[in-house]
Symmetry: C2
Subunit: 117 residues, 2 copies
DNA sequence: TGAACATATGAACAGCTGTTCATATATTAA
DNA sequence: TTAATATATGAACAGCTGTTCATATGTTCA
């Protein structure tokens, strides 16, 4: 079956105008990388924990019950996207939520999934 | 090398209390499914378009420049997580952003990635 | 009716992801 | 120094994802 060029509703001019309102590739790609980072149970749990207080890697390891390696890899992902930040404190590496955007992201998503149960 | 049970900073009691503040598995899993849905360039672009106005599938197809199948699959994913909703209008299926949570999610993420360039 | 348009869906494949294991690096304290 | 603790990283593998292709289903109108 052949799909024609456009459906009845399509107005090429208006479509063009709408496309301009979509952020450019680079931005969209960075956004999907951020959501990608938030798409893991382990990393989400890390953020929920850090939302309560800043923590070192081994505290997170204890709380999450996964290997230290998994925590560290997860933190790296979150760090690379500036979702968490780091501070050295002696032999400990302290992680904390980067900013309010991150808290809001988590909060909105939580409200969304809890809304309908 | 052997990793001991807990590091100096770990206080088992406090850790336990923190764990209780993390939503339970079911909720975390639903949240990661939502973020997972937001983690695709195509689906993000769909949401950016729908943010401007509700659209039928073939309008989206035109705007996105991917196959109709890809759009439809993407929409199903978004629909299943209640990120978009659907309305029939004659032979057209009109999609629109589900609620304000979704707009805020997008907005927060956009601000986050645009903050530092 | 049936032809044309609009949308959905299943299969399949290439590419990506998260975990663990093994190991390296960094810091402290003795 | 060295030992012990704390964290990071590379490799590798199983499992998941997004796209397209092919096709099915739904809707309108002549």
């Amino acid at each position: 079956m052949f799909m024609q060029d456009k459906c009845d509703r399509v107005n090429p001019e208006k479509i063009k105008a709408l496309i301009k309102r979509v952020p450019d590739t680079e931005v969209v790609t960075r956004m999907s990388a951020v959501f990608q980072a938030l798409q893991s149970d382990t990393r989400l749990r890390i953020l929920f924990l850090l939302r309560e207080k800043e923590m070192c890697v081994c505290e997170l390891e204890q709380a999450l019950n996964v290997t230290q390696s998994a925590v560290s890899h997860g933190l790296r992902t979150l760090r690379q996207l500036d979702l968490v930040r780091v501070r050295r404190e002696g032999k400990f590496t302290i992680y904390y939520i980067a900013d309010e955007h991150v808290r809001t992201l988590i909060e909105m998503c939580l409200e969304h999934v809890e809304e309908k149960v």
